[in-house]
């Protein structure tokens, strides 16, 4: 018997910046989005939305609307008496359309299905609604005030997928609370040399996926078909089945390309209303939101927080206390998860003797808040990190040095019972600091800042994938990840190709059709490359094993695949089917969670104009600590996109509310970053320590930069002389702060 020793195979398909597989389709305008689709006999739906923030519906008169030519039907709450019309994956608190009451400006009150969009719009205008206004809970602070009006009187019914253990009883308008408690906090503060404390405000932010929420629904008997802009089709499928009382397998959701998501299309959004309207119309219906409608479909939580941090005079961190109120709007949406993630992120990745976190999710009369890229971490990292910088300042230590001394190192506990730290944070922060010229001299009004945080990533790790090796040698991957721009179809082709030792051009990855595509929990939480990618790798490996079985050796040349298939099937047809699965049980690190800690590490250099308060971002740097970059260029592009969103969140994005009324519901007065907001230099440092749980040691990315950049900008601005505790850093607010500093004699420039 001889033993053959083979050289380790060199990877040719992963770790390479292959061109995007969807580039040609998208560049040529051929890529199909839901809004581009037509279904035979399709009607156009239009939604009547509440003009007030809180009130009782006295009457809805649809008579005139129904008489408009082309109108097929008008749906109101009265049409839903045969089902339990409340949904919500976390808390079942939301009716498909308003029933008896409206709870936010923009809530769905009725919907029209008509032959043309114009007829539908005219009919919506012809519906007459009489409201009796109720006192408005304007924000989370008002929501927890003694005697605050209740936004909802309904009992708390847990949704199908809250994933947060036993949900607590509702406490007034507080629908969820998350707390952490470690060590003897009071003792630590009593003996601290340095205590930094403050009150902070984070605004409502709109994700602005350029494609608005769009759904086509068709109901035929107990079969429901949807074409929908959804990130998590399998979770939506379950909620639709639950709402309308049909088997899960009878709900078919097809997801083509999405025009951006960023969390705004996670969980169930416009799908229930579109199904209800199609059910009543007896024909397929398309509802396509306008931008103002998508803004009130979901948004990022505004937040108020108080934080204090204790340290020794040498800058050793001791303890931290955080209290925050998250404004989840009229319905919980993903608020409880956002609050739990924020709570986990609140202490920051340091070696604390003690900390206490109390985070509350509060109902108000604003539009519901849910997921937006790097939620929770973005809310709190800028606050915690600005206090670390203040401690460094008072201790007379460089901000990078104070982090070097206090940051957790790989293997240390992050949260009790959770996965230990799996990243080199000190290395990451040193790299980004260097990239913005940390040690270079700088002129007055220029400041530099760094920031470090962690985000519990991966969500619940359940994914499956199927690979089909066809008789022409091509491979089709079936996997439920939604392609919304982040590039999974390209990355998965590379992963499957690497595993099968073929060229990625021979692998095709298409969109989800829940009728044929195997189950994947969701697309979000930076999980797709890591979790779904691992399922793809296992499915491809399954095919490889089958081929080795047919050959009777593990030394199979890819050029022999077709001959082996022919041998197996006895003709030029047939296909080998590989199956891959990832579950939280029995897969090592997945059991203890999170799947991985996504690092949120960034640096910025800014310059402030004291005459106008304008903040110019000169340089940014972020660390994409990805374990192993499957496609390095796509990793960089992810970080750059997150950087610009972070810049927008930090500098000017804010949904302005006045007593529950949204004042800026168009892109004319809600401004997002343009080309001209690009920093002069933007660096993405890719860190590859092959320490991720995904394929080839990979772990996800794309969110961390969004949490890191606002914090780095805030710290850089403080370094330039303007400490701020309210976002966004609009010129007006910054100028005002400079005037205050001048009055207090604290303006150094």
């Amino acid at each position: 018997m001889t033993t053959t020793v083979r050289e380790p195979r060199t990877r040719t398909q992963v770790g390479v910046s292959r061109p995007r597989r969807d580039a040609a389709e998208k560049l040529r305008g051929q890529a199909q989005f839901v809004g581009d689709m037509l279904v035979p006999r399709m009607l156009y739906g239009k939604v009547l939305r509440s003009t007030i923030a809180h009130g009782r519906i006295v009457s809805i008169d649809t008579t005139a609307a129904e008489k408009i030519p082309g109108v097929v039907c008008v749906l109101t709450g009265a049409d839903l008496s045969d089902i339990d019309p409340y949904y919500g994956h976390a808390i079942k608190d939301r009716p498909i359309v308003a029933i008896d009451k409206v709870r936010f400006h923009g809530e769905q009150v009725a919907a029209v299905a008509a032959e043309t969009p114009a007829a539908a719009a005219a009919a919506v205008d012809a519906i007459v609604v009489e409201y009796e206004e109720l006192p408005v809970v304007a924000d989370a602070v008002a929501g927890v005030a003694p005697g605050a009006p209740l936004v909802t009187e309904r009992e708390m019914v847990p949704g199908l997928f809250h994933g947060l253990g036993e949900l607590p009883e509702r406490d007034g308008n507080v629908c969820y609370r998350y707390a952490l408690d470690k060590g003897e906090l009071e003792a630590v503060f009593a003996h601290a040399d340095i205590v930094v404390e403050g009150e902070y405000t984070f605004p409502s932010v709109y994700q602005y996926a350029m494609e608005t929420h769009t759904v086509i629904a068709q109901v035929e008997g107990d079969e429901i078909s949807l074409w929908a802009t959804c990130q998590h089709p399998f979770l939506v499928r379950a909620e639709i089945a639950d709402l309308f009382g049909v088997p899960v397998a009878n709900v078919r959701i097809q997801v083509p390309y999405l025009g951006g998501g960023f969390g705004s299309k996670s969980y169930t959004k416009m799908e229930p209303l579109t199904v209800a309207l199609a059910r009543k119309a007896g024909r397929p219906v398309k509802i396509q939101n306008r931008v103002g409608e998508s803004m009130v479909t979901t948004r990022r939580h505004n937040m108020r927080a108080t934080m204090r941090t204790a340290a020794t005079k040498e800058g050793r961190l001791l303890g931290r206390e955080v209290e925050c109120l998250f404004d989840t709007g009229a319905y919980a949406d993903n608020g409880p998860r956002v609050v739990a993630t924020a709570g986990d992120a609140a202490p920051g990745p340091y070696r604390w003797s003690a900390y206490r976190v109390d985070a509350a999710c509060v109902y108000t009369n604003r539009a519901p808040s849910g997921s937006y890229r790097a939620f929770g971490a973005t809310h709190l990292q800028w606050i915690g990190e600005s206090q670390i910088d203040e401690i460094a300042r008072r201790a007379g230590i460089d901000p990078v040095e104070v982090r070097r001394q206090n940051l957790l190192t790989p293997g240390e506990e992050v949260r009790s019972g959770g996965k230990p730290l799996d990243a080199d944070l000190v290395g990451d922060v040193e790299k980004v600091a260097q990239a913005v010229g940390w040690d270079e001299p700088k002129r007055p009004l220029v400041g530099r800042g760094v920031s470090v945080g962690l985000l519990a990533a991966g969500a619940h790790p359940v994914s499956s994938a199927v690979c089909r090796l066809e008789a022409d040698g091509r491979v089709v991957v079936l996997v439920g990840t939604t392609e919304m721009g982040q590039g999974p179809r390209t990355a998965f082709a590379q992963i499957a190709a690497e595993e099968l030792r073929i060229d990625a051009d021979r692998v095709t990855v298409r969109g989800t059709d829940t009728r044929f595509t195997p189950y994947d929990r969701s697309t979000g939480a930076s999980r797709s490359t890591t979790v779904a990618g691992l399922a793809v790798q296992r499915a491809a490996n399954d095919i490889r094993r089958q081929l080795e079985g047919i050959a009777g050796t593990d030394d199979v040349d890819p050029d022999d695949y077709l001959a082996l298939m022919r041998k197996h099937f006895g003709f030029a047809g047939g296909e080998l089917i590989g199956r891959g699965e990832v579950t939280p049980v029995g897969t090592g690190s997945y059991a203890e969670g999170p799947v991985f800690w996504e690092v949120c590490v960034g640096a910025a250099e800014v310059e402030v104009d004291p005459q106008t308060g304008f903040v110019h971002v000169r340089r940014t740097a972020t660390a994409a600590d990805v374990g192993r970059a499957i496609n390095p260029l796509l990793v960089e592009r992810q970080d750059e996109g997150a950087t610009l969103q972070g810049l927008g969140n930090a500098l000017f994005e804010e949904m302005v509310y006045d007593e529950g009324l949204l004042l800026n519901d168009t892109l004319l007065d809600y401004r997002i970053p343009t080309f001209e907001d690009l920093p002069d230099a933007m660096t993405c440092v890719i860190v590859e320590n092959e320490d991720g749980p995904g394929p080839f040691g990979a772990k996800g990315c794309g969110e961390g930069a969004l949490a890191a950049v606002p914090a780095a900008i805030v710290n850089a601005l403080a370094d330039a002389g303007v400490p701020m505790n309210e976002l966004p850093l609009t010129p007006e607010r910054v100028w005002q702060r400079i005037q205050e500093l001048k009055e207090e004699g604290k303006w150094q420039n």
């Binding site: 061109p19 982040q486 590039g487 996109g641």
Partner: protein, 152 residues
């Protein structure tokens, strides 16, 4: 009312409502869905098409205004020989993600390349600021356009 215009080099004569938007006409009557609807207030540029070679926001432009003019959409641009260069540069630099802004972006870029207004990175940023992209962070697009315009 009847309008006659050229769309991607083909003559089109149709009856339209006076208030009909060029974007709806292209998408719904002609099936040219490469032009996208997003902001509807001439801020985002996703609906950009060329009218007589100049970029316009088709969400705020009446089809009646295009009477007798030449309209080019992404479908038409993609048929032109010079499109290959654009496609190559955007692909190499990964200057796209979700692809929703991409057709409008390319039409603006093609018009600016034609007029030679992209002499520096500053000019590129300024000239393209009427086209929003929420995914890429713009860096890749600037690199691709600089490459096309021969800007170092």
């Amino acid at each position: 009312m009847e309008v006659a215009l050229s769309v991607n080099g083909r003559e089109v004569v149709r009856d339209v409502a006076p208030q009909e938007l060029l974007l709806d006409f292209l998408r719904d009557s002609l099936g040219l869905t490469g032009s996208k609807r997003s902001c509807e207030v001439q801020v985002c540029g996703a609906c950009t098409v060329l009218v007589d070679g100049l970029p316009v926001s088709s969400c705020c432009y009446l089809v009646a205004q295009a009477q007798g003019r030449e309209v080019t959409t992404i479908e038409g641009l993609a048929e032109r020989p010079e499109f290959e260069r654009l496609e190559d540069a955007f692909t190499r630099h990964a200057a796209l993600q979700c692809g929703f802004c991409t057709p409008g972006m390319l039409l603006t870029v093609s018009a600016l390349l034609e007029s030679g207004e992209l002499g520096s990175e500053e000019q590129i940023k300024q000239s393209l600021s009427g086209n929003l992209c929420r995914c890429t962070g713009y860096r890749g697009i600037v690199e691709a356009v600089a490459d096309l315009a021969g800007v170092e």
